[in-house]
């Protein structure tokens, strides 16, 4: 009985470990269209978007046509990264 038990256990263990490594995603999710979550729905990211420092999910991707979304990049979503800097620069220019 012990032989049967350890055969079954070893088989389950080896199979699960191999399966975990075999199904590991080895592609870059950023090659897919990115979406951001605005609190209620997922929207396509803007052309000038950026991910600021943060521990939450910045952008998401979907592989099933928008039924579910998976996190892709980490950070805080900024719809127009760099725009704020440009605006302040242009404002300072106006001040001069």
């Amino acid at each position: 009985m012990k032989k049967i038990k350890w055969s079954i256990m070893s088989l389950a263990l080896v199979f699960s470990i191999c399966a975990a490594f075999a199904t590991k995603p080895h592609w870059d999710c950023t090659t897919l269209p990115q979406y951001w979550f605005n609190g209620s729905i997922y929207q396509p990211v803007g052309p000038l978007y950026g991910c600021m420092q943060g521990s939450i999910t910045c952008t998401y991707f979907t592989t099933n046509g928008g039924i579910t979304y998976s996190p892709c990049t980490i950070g805080t979503y900024n719809n127009c990264a760099g725009c704020a800097v440009e605006t302040s620069q242009s404002m300072s220019k106006v001040g001069h």
Partner: protein, 153 residues
């Protein structure tokens, strides 16, 4: 008796297969798992705790299912974990939360939430069967031991 024992081993092996696969998938792609936990409709402050608690519990249940002494505890643990996952899946499907998050965990993320619920219910059922069979086995072993003691006296 032999058939029941083999069946019990198969149930344990299936649960070990699920839990080792699920925990290892999380550890291998930890960054994605962290993001997926943030994406769940739970407070983000829980994420640092949950990202360790969930896979570690899965590993603990798997280990306890391997050894005869701790197997009953493992079956109970499996029943509790799968029960909680099933309740969570049910809540998601009832649209209790404002949005439907991804159904994460290796190849499991390719399943829809309905398929996920069916899978969870299957594992809840076999965990329950494991608990019942392990209890019966213990009871039978105790009875046999008592009978042997009586015949010896």
């Amino acid at each position: 008796m032999f058939k029941r024992q083999v069946l019990l081993e198969c149930i344990s092996a299936l649960l070990i297969l699920l839990f080792v696969y699920a925990s290892l998938s999380k550890f291998i792609d930890f960054k994605t798992f962290y993001g997926e936990m943030n994406n769940q409709p739970l407070p983000n402050s829980w994420t640092p705790f949950l990202v360790w608690a969930i896979p570690c519990t899965e590993v603990a249940v798997s280990v306890s299912l391997v050894f005869e002494r701790t197997r009953l505890l493992g079956f109970y643990g499996s029943l509790v974990v799968m029960g909680l996952f099933t309740i969570y899946t049910g809540i998601i499907l009832m649209h209790f939360f404002p949005y439907v998050p991804c159904s994460c965990g290796g190849v499991i993320k390719r399943l829809s939430w309905t398929q996920h619920l069916i899978l969870n219910l299957f594992f809840v059922a076999i965990s329950t069967a494991g608990v019942i069979m392990q209890h019966r086995k213990r009871f039978t072993n105790i009875t046999i031991t008592k009978q042997n003691k009586n015949s010896f006296v």
